[in-house]
């Protein structure tokens, strides 16, 4: 990383490169990509929860003027390999969950497609269904391994002994609901098969189909890798673009069924682009959700607060169609020291659609339980909750014994306490009242791990006096367009205006998706290596057309360390004694994020995560009506599913303590997309306890749970 003040871009406040396009409405999102004479798709979705399609009568739809095709399992192109059960659609009569895509109508206009879809009659043979999540479900199972590849269970020492030795224990159950991501941009796809195009390499085999997709995607490279085996195509036969994404939060991380549905429909009309954008209601059906959890958390501590035992037993929902096992127990294994520790994960199989990544999957629900339990322990011990956390800060990673590459949780807690005015907090609940409002403060720690990233590359090419930097990265509104440009400028030792960034296309060098808060350090590393390779090869005066590639690099030494980002969240709330309404009057996050590439976009990432944390704490809950014959989320619009509005977020501030960490790679950045949400609901719940004396262990904290 250069420190030359004449070229140093990293660390500077920069407005978004894509900002003007976005605020003027001219950034072309997937659905707005220009196409000639497109056809429009509206899906047929199952209205039962489990069973088989007996018959589909599409005669009325087919008879409607403007209808081009009705796609069902009866005429769907065959998929070649069942490498992903979520994408392997329309290959049988089976219905796995309510709202599953079982077909589609394609028509000349969106309106005709939608109307025609309503005319299709589907008969089913229903089967016994189960959508009711409950602990101790008879079919719950141990998944063996959970997301990120770690074991579902862990055990060190003897927790019963640890609890028996404890002066004080906590043993409570915490619960988090289903949530749906609901980015502003609904999932959108355009798919077009081009039979005219001859493949150069395999031309001997004759014409080979070529598929072009415009998608809203967190990563086109891995999206393509997932689609290829199902479609039986080679990489050069599939092109995916996604230059702008209107929010994703994990829901666009991997392709969901709507991509395959559009691809299959388009296959029936080669040469014609087929477009589909989900309705808001459909966003609650088949593009993933955050699973629901039931978490028993136990803590034992000596009288001085030193933890003797930690146990965390998680039961969480899962789709029978496709397992998604969040690493809800992960943070519990690493954040605090204790000689005796045990965690477990059990999946509850249900006839629901697949869950997927949603902002800090695993860490978010798990840390709600852990950081609320820690607050409960502090109350029982009569100890300040910050002091309790400081006393249990581990010297090395409690699970592996590895040293931390960097660990500044203590600084975050202490600096946050100072900035927030923690000393004004009264430990006794209900000690502060203003009019009808009870006021309180709460704190929670945050941690988010370094995720391993599959291969990622970048390229640098010199054309017409500019350095064109290419990588199949994605900007979900995160600032990737801007920070990658800054990183490239410094690595090439040129001003930012000499760098032209290209992202979001499969023609660009393969890159891991935007997920796990890896984007900046992973893509950034590839860009830096490509820049170094370019300069090594061509020097400071390259010729037109010079080009070099590079792969993301991480030091071998990093394996010797535990790599995590840290943070602390401080919440101040007021709770109405009349209505039970909660207002988060202040929220402060202090982070240990490694190097900050761009303080402006970083701040937006942090406060965006914190805002989503407020939203999860106070509002968000997908109500799955699990009665037989229902089996789906019924509050599936923005009147029923509340997301924080401006008035709910009056004062949200982020600060950071910048210690670049080279073990995360050459950028020194730790990744900040998710740390901002982790622990926020716990901080708010702990503040509610401080205000009211009432402990809430289930999200969200609605007036119904507080009014008396």
């Amino acid at each position: 990383m250069t420190t030359d003040p004449k070229t140093a871009s990293v660390g500077q406040d920069r407005v978004r490169i894509d900002g003007p396009l976005k605020v003027t409405g001219t950034a072309p999102y997937a659905f707005e990509q220009p196409t000639e004479n497109p056809a429009y798709l509206f899906p047929l979705t199952s209205t039962i929860t489990r069973g088989k399609i007996r018959a589909i009568d599409a005669s009325a739809a087919r008879a409607l003027s403007g209808v081009l095709e009705v796609l069902t399992h009866e005429n769907a192109p065959k998929l070649l390999a069942k490498t992903d059960t979520e994408l392997y659609i329309l290959q049988s009569r089976d219905v796995h969950y309510f709202g599953e895509n079982i077909g589609a109508v394609v028509a000349e206009t969106q309106e005709i497609a939608r109307h025609a879809a309503s005319l299709v009659r589907v008969e089913y043979d229903t089967e016994q269904e189960d959508t009711r999540f409950r602990p101790e479900h008879p079919e719950r199972y141990n998944p063996g391994k959970i997301n990120t590849g770690i074991p579902a269970d862990s055990k060190q020492g003897n927790v019963e002994q640890g609890l028996a030795e404890a002066a004080v224990t906590v043993d409570e159950v915490y619960a988090t609901p289903y949530e749906h991501h609901n980015p502003m941009e609904m999932h959108s796809v355009i798919a077009e098969w081009d039979r005219e195009r001859l493949d150069g390499v395999l031309g001997v085999l004759g014409e080979r189909p070529h598929l072009r997709i415009h998608d809203a995607s967190q990563g086109v490279s891995y999206e393509r890798l997932m689609l290829l085996p199902l479609l039986g195509l080679l990489p050069q036969q599939v092109e995916i673009s996604s230059p702008y994404v209107g929010g994703a939060f994990g829901s666009k991380g991997i392709p969901h069924a709507q991509v395959m549905l559009t691809v299959l429909a388009a296959r029936l009309m080669p040469g014609r682009a087929v477009k589909y954008m989900l309705s808001r209601q459909q966003m609650f059906r088949s593009v993933g959700h955050r699973l629901t959890t039931h978490q028993r958390f136990r803590l034992g501590a000596a009288a001085d607060g030193t933890l003797t035992a930690i146990t965390h037993d998680v039961q969480q929902s899962s789709s029978r169609l496709k397992q998604f096992a969040e690493q809800t127990v992960n943070a519990t294994r690493h954040l605090y020291a204790a000689p005796h520790r045990e965690t477990s994960t059990r999946m509850v199989p249900l006839d629901i659609g697949p869950a997927t990544f949603m902002r800090a999957p695993g860490e978010f629900p798990g840390m709600f339980a852990q950081e609320t339990a820690m607050d409960e322990l502090a109350v029982k011990l009569g100890l300040d909750p910050i002091e309790l956390r400081l006393r249990n800060k581990p010297d090395t990673d409690p699970e592996s014994g590895k040293p931390h590459s960097s660990h500044h949780l203590g600084e975050c807690l202490k600096e946050g306490a100072r900035l927030f005015g923690w000393e004004k907090r009264q430990a006794q609940p209900r000690a502060r009242q203003e009019g009808e409002w009870l006021c309180g403060m709460g704190v929670a720690a945050a941690t988010y791990p370094r995720q391993m990233t599959p291969p990622t590359k970048a390229s640098v090419a010199f054309r017409e006096g500019k350095y064109h930097v290419g990588i199949a990265a994605a900007d979900l509104g995160t600032g990737a367009w801007t920070v990658l440009t800054q990183i490239a400028a410094d690595a090439l030792k040129v001003p930012e205006e000499d760098v032209v960034l290209h992202i979001g296309h499969t023609d660009l060098p393969l890159a891991f998706l935007a997920g796990g808060s890896t984007g900046t350090y992973n893509w950034g590393s590839a860009v830096m290596v490509a820049a170094v390779n370019f300069r090594d090869r061509y020097g400071l005066t390259p010729a037109e057309g010079d080009e070099a590639e590079g792969s993301a690099f991480f030091p071998d030494e990093a394996k010797k360390y535990m790599l995590d980002a840290y943070g602390a969240h401080f919440a101040e709330v007021k709770v109405s004694t009349v209505t039970g309404e909660v207002h988060v009057t202040r929220l402060l996050g202090v982070y240990d994020p490694g190097r900050i590439i761009n303080p402006r976009t970083a701040n937006s990432q942090f406060i965006g995560g914190m805002t989503m944390g407020i939203s999860a704490a106070l509002h968000e809950e997908s109500y799955l009506d699990s009665r037989p014959g229902y089996g789906h989320v019924v509050n599936s619009d923005f009147a029923g599913y509340h997301i924080a509005a401006n008035a709910d977020v009056p004062d949200v501030q982020a600060r950071w303590i910048e210690h670049p960490d080279p073990m995360f790679g050459p950028t020194g950045a730790k990744g900040i997309g998710e740390i901002g949400i982790v622990g926020v609901p716990a901080a708010i719940g702990n503040a509610i306890y401080n205000a009211t004396g009432k402990r809430l262990r289930e999200l969200p904290f609605t007036p119904a749970k507080l009014v008396e």
């Binding site: 309510f98 109307h115 207002h583 509005a645």
Partner: protein, 338 residues
């Protein structure tokens, strides 16, 4: 969405003539268009009445106001005379929806808002209001918003409007026109309880067109207020809301009006509470006893049980504020958040 005819009316008589069975009048469209798009309402034709000359707020002899049916919600809430004479009404309007929606939504349309029950909006589920005879999914289902008063085995939902709660408080009059002539409908007779016909929200007849809402002179309403409890600070339907007006003489209640939202299939005027309280000392104990008298009629399930203490607390709090002249303070605390 089924294809439909679209006509634009230039006058009230045009509109009445253009209306046919299966038609609907389209004004601001903030509710009806949602229904069409969600596939929970089909029409053969829309008669666009948004250009009719019904946008005036005029003074009535004796101190009332006549509000044209097409006055936008935001204009109504901002009207100086309305704010002075009926603060609860202005507050109620501003507590509803969002700024963008209030700029589109009309007075007449607000009266005709349909329920926000999640099952009404979900065509895959039974709902007697949407499909008579199919059943009520909210019984035993997502029940947080269910009614406390006047529900039936056929429908347990609540009326969604904030404005209408204040109109119930004021005994407003709905003026409607039809080919058969005009009529004036007292507000108490406008909305219905569900009974065994929950598909009917109001007593408006097919083809009848609301042209105005008249606000009578209600001197006590100068000391009135509206309070709404909801799950987020703005842009959410009421869990419970309360509109109240109070005049005390000495220590006693001389005159009181109380209307509640989020508790019944129509705006709920709390006559029992009013009757109890009139002439009693204006104390928290009596305010509480008054709403308890009203709550004797209430029926709640597990999911909406919280509405009982919520309503009780809010009524007591709002009446105390009115008694003590503290309502402007709460308005400031709420920061004008709508």
């Amino acid at each position: 969405m089924k294809p439909f005819d679209f006509q634009r009316a230039g006058t009230v008589s045009d509109a009445l003539a253009q209306f046919a069975p299966g038609s609907a009048y389209l004004a601001g469209g903030t509710n009806l268009v949602d229904h069409l798009r969600a596939g929970i309402r089909e029409v053969d034709g829309l008669v666009d009445i948004s250009r009719l000359d019904l946008t005036e707020i005029a003074e009535l002899p004796g101190g009332g106001l006549r509000v044209g049916a097409l006055v936008k919600n935001s204009d109504m809430a901002a009207h100086p005379l309305l704010r002075e004479r009926y603060p609860a009404l202005a507050e109620a309007i501003l507590a509803g929806a969002s700024g963008q929606i209030r700029n589109m939504a009309t007075t007449g349309g607000n009266l005709l808002q349909r329920t926000r029950c999640v099952y009404f909006y979900d065509p895959a589920t039974p709902c007697n209001k949407r499909e008579p005879g199919s059943g009520c999914s909210a019984i035993g289902g997502f029940g947080k918003y269910n009614a406390l008063f006047g529900a039936s085995e056929h429908c347990v939902t609540v009326h969604p409007s904030d404005m209408c709660v204040a109109l119930a408080l004021l005994d407003a009059v709905v003026v409607a026109e039809s080919e058969a002539g005009g009529r004036r409908i007292p507000f108490a007779d406008f909305h219905r309880l569900p009974g065994d016909t929950p598909h009917l929200d109001t007593n408006l007849r097919p083809g009848e067109l609301i042209t105005a809402v008249e606000l009578p002179a209600v001197p006590v309403a100068a000391q009135s207020t509206y309070r709404k409890a909801r799950e987020r600070t703005s842009y959410a339907f009421a869990l419970v809301s309360v509109a109240a007006a109070l005049r005390t003489e000495g220590e006693n209640v001389a005159e009181v009006r109380l209307a509640c939202g989020g508790v019944a299939h129509r705006p709920w005027r709390a006559h029992r509470a009013e009757a109890y309280l009139t002439g009693k000392p204006a104390t928290a104990e009596h305010f509480r006893a008054a709403i308890e008298a009203e709550l004797e009629e209430a029926q709640s399930g597990t999911e909406n049980a919280f509405k009982v203490p919520l309503l009780r607390n809010m009524v007591v709090s709002v009446l105390e504020e009115l008694r003590d002249g503290r309502t402007p303070q709460r308005r400031a605390e709420q920061g004008g958040a709508a």
